[in-house]
């Protein structure tokens, strides 16, 4: 009953409910994919429009390489660098501050779990436009202590990504029996450091990677806090650049999406594990 081979010759694990049928999978992904691709397609189509008369033209795209564009690009390149730096520092904060805390709470302070969950959801409940009112005095102190460079903005971004990173890592923590793994490691006389690095992290890789992904995406897409604190990041620079021309605005938005996508894809491919035998 269980190990019957079906028509395609593969082991019929599919029949026992864990994984979807090949066809079902592609139907779901196909439909959802099409629905989600449509607005993007509409944006792309818009960038080829020739004014209001309904024709199409490549001018908006070729105009990107014009002479006078150089001044506007100066800001854009600094901004991309800033955003990438911010992304790195934010992911650092997530990995160095949030992750150990979550593991610690999960292992040692189960009662605090709800508290941590609540703390990690607060950043998303207060809209950025109001949060900045409170962040501004804090930042005036931060600027005195650490200088006015762009990377200090990552502290605020670390807070902004807390809800997403927490949820991604917690989903993984729930799924993996962290307690048993750590107890096993400890009984085999590993110190906490080794347990963390060699036992827990490899099992939490997916959650950590998901958290890093969403953090990078949040930082690259964040606009309000940077704008209201008058710092330059990718989104604020995009807004500046696109002020002159609605077609250019949409073109740059699409390019920014593509940049983020390529960046995340490369991070993902770099960070992938090779199957080292059976997963537990």
């Amino acid at each position: 009953m269980t190990a019957v081979k079906n028509d395609s010759g593969r082991l019929a694990a599919v029949r026992i409910g864990a994984e979807p049928n090949h066809v079902v999978r592609w139907i779901i992904l196909g439909v959802v994919g099409l629905v989600f691709a449509f607005p993007i397609f509409a944006m792309v189509e818009f960038t080829f429009r020739d004014g209001l008369s309904g024709g199409h033209t490549l001018d908006h795209w070729t105009g990107l390489f014009d002479e006078d564009a150089a001044r506007t690009y100066r800001n854009l390149f600094t901004a991309i660098g800033n955003s990438l730096l911010l992304a790195v520092v934010t992911v650092g904060i997530v990995l160095v501050v949030l992750l150990p805390t979550m593991i610690l709470v999960h292992l040692q302070f189960p009662r605090l779990r709800r508290v941590l969950e609540f703390i990690c959801i607060i950043p998303i409940t207060v809209p950025a436009i109001v949060l900045v009112v409170g962040l501004a005095p804090v930042y005036s102190v931060v600027v005195k202590v650490a200088g006015g460079s762009i990377w200090t903005l990552a502290f605020a971004y670390g807070i902004t990504v807390l809800p997403y990173a927490y949820r991604a890592i917690q989903s993984n923590l729930d799924a993996v029996d962290v307690v048993t793994l750590s107890e096993a490691g400890r009984t085999l006389s590993a110190g906490w450091g080794r347990v963390l690095w060699f036992v827990l992290l490899p099992n939490l890789k997916r959650g950590v990677l998901a958290a890093s992904f969403i953090s990078v995406a949040v930082v690259l897409g964040e606009f309000t806090i940077a704008s209201l604190l008058n710092r330059v990041n990718l989104q604020t620079a995009l807004l500046q650049v696109s002020q002159s021309d609605p077609y250019v605005a949409v073109i740059f938005a699409l390019l920014a999406l593509a940049l983020a996508f390529v960046l995340l894809l490369s991070i993902g491919r770099l960070g992938r594990t090779r199957r080292t035998g059976s997963e537990s």
Binding site: A13, R15, I16, G17, E19, P20, R25, L29, V32, F38, P39, A42, M43, I93, V97, T101, L104, Q108, F109, P110, L112, R114, E117, I119, I121, I124, T125, V126, P127, I129, V130, L131, V132, V133, G134, P137, F155, G158, Y164, R167, A168, Q170, S171, N172, D174, A175, V179, T180, R206, A210, F213, I214, A217, V218, T224, V250, L264, G268, R269, R272
Partner: protein
């Protein structure tokens, strides 16, 4: 891994509500308590400090502006203003939009995660979907609003095509895209990817052995999903649902770009109070509205923990 080794995890759940399992050790037994020395508490300090300086202080500062007038005098009028029927209506509208998009986003997102079950974790499909989902989860604001205007707006290709070929005018009952109903469609666009990102790690925790065990013991796919998979996934599913709700509740850049007349949801009310060129002096109202939002979230979180304490009973 035997049942005897599982005790600590179950005890962790027992901490919160469920009755004690005969084979478990309570988590507050002397052995466990001794290990929670000072050093372990110190481990919480970096996070606590960070959150204190960059989250609590700004939130408290921002929210308490609601208690003061422009000139700095203490007042309760802003808070009283929250009880205005108009404001209560906007809270209700916000709640409804957030709840609907959270549920739709969660269900569709879970479906996509289900569709990804069994694909290779390091395969191309998974990497691409992870990246696309991350990027789209953060795609919002003016550009997202414009993408939808270009896609299904009054003069978009789709609308005109539907009107001319099929004769179906999707705007026959009014321009719903530029009203809260339109937000239902547009918000789902970033809710679904967010769900995929945050829920996929949980779905990947479904062990193949459970499916096989279910089959060996004579269960069907239905029993697998209802008796085994869903109870295990429930905490993460509802946690992600909560995140989606909070995300929609406070998101305003997209709404501001789409719904420009009137302020039918709370973040737009906040924006109107802070940003208006013509009606001045209402900035502190924004603090009161933000306080209202935090209160709503506290209530929702409380409901969520009640739900969690019941579903965590099913965890192993």
């Amino acid at each position: 891994m035997t049942v005897a080794n599982a005790p600590v995890l179950v005890a962790g759940a027992a901490e919160t509500t469920s009755p004690q399992h005969p084979l478990t050790e309570p988590a507050s037994s002397p052995r466990r308590r001794a290990s929670r020395g000072l050093v372990t508490y110190l481990g919480l300090t970096p996070f606590a400090l960070y959150v204190l300086v960059f989250l609590f202080i700004p939130t408290i500062l921002a929210v308490t502006t609601g208690f003061f007038t422009e000139d700095g005098a203490f007042t309760l009028t802003n808070i009283a203003g929250l009880l205005d029927p108009l404001v209560l209506n906007t809270f209700a509208a916000s709640f409804w939009v957030s709840a609907v998009t959270a549920v739709v986003g969660a269900v569709v997102g879970a479906l996509v995660c289900y569709a990804l079950l069994g694909t290779r974790a390091d395969g191309a499909l998974r990497s691409v979907i992870d990246s696309v989902a991350s990027v789209l989860a953060q795609f919002g604001g003016v550009m997202l609003a414009f993408a939808f205007i270009a896609a299904i707006g009054l003069q978009s290709l789709l609308t005109l095509w539907l009107k001319n070929t099929v004769g179906f005018d999707i705007y026959a009952n009014g321009t719903w895209l530029y009203q809260p109903a339109g937000l239902l469609v547009v918000y789902t666009y970033f809710q679904v990817p967010l769900m995929v990102i945050t829920f996929l790690p949980a779905l990947e925790g479904l062990k193949r052995q459970w499916a096989e065990a279910n089959a060996t013991l004579g269960g069907t796919r239905l029993t697998y999903w209802t008796r085994i998979a869903f109870p295990v996934l429930a905490p993460s599913f509802f946690g992600s649902l909560l995140l989606l709700f909070a995300n929609a509740f406070s998101s305003y850049a997209t709404a501001a770009a789409l719904v420009s007349q009137g302020s039918p949801i709370v973040p737009l009310q906040i924006r109107a109070a802070l940003v208006s060129e013509t009606v001045l002096g209402r900035e502190n109202m924004a603090g009161a509205l933000a306080l209202g939002m935090v209160v709503v979230m506290v209530v929702v979180m409380w409901g969520y923990s009640v739900l969690q304490s019941r579903t965590s009973r099913w965890q192993r």
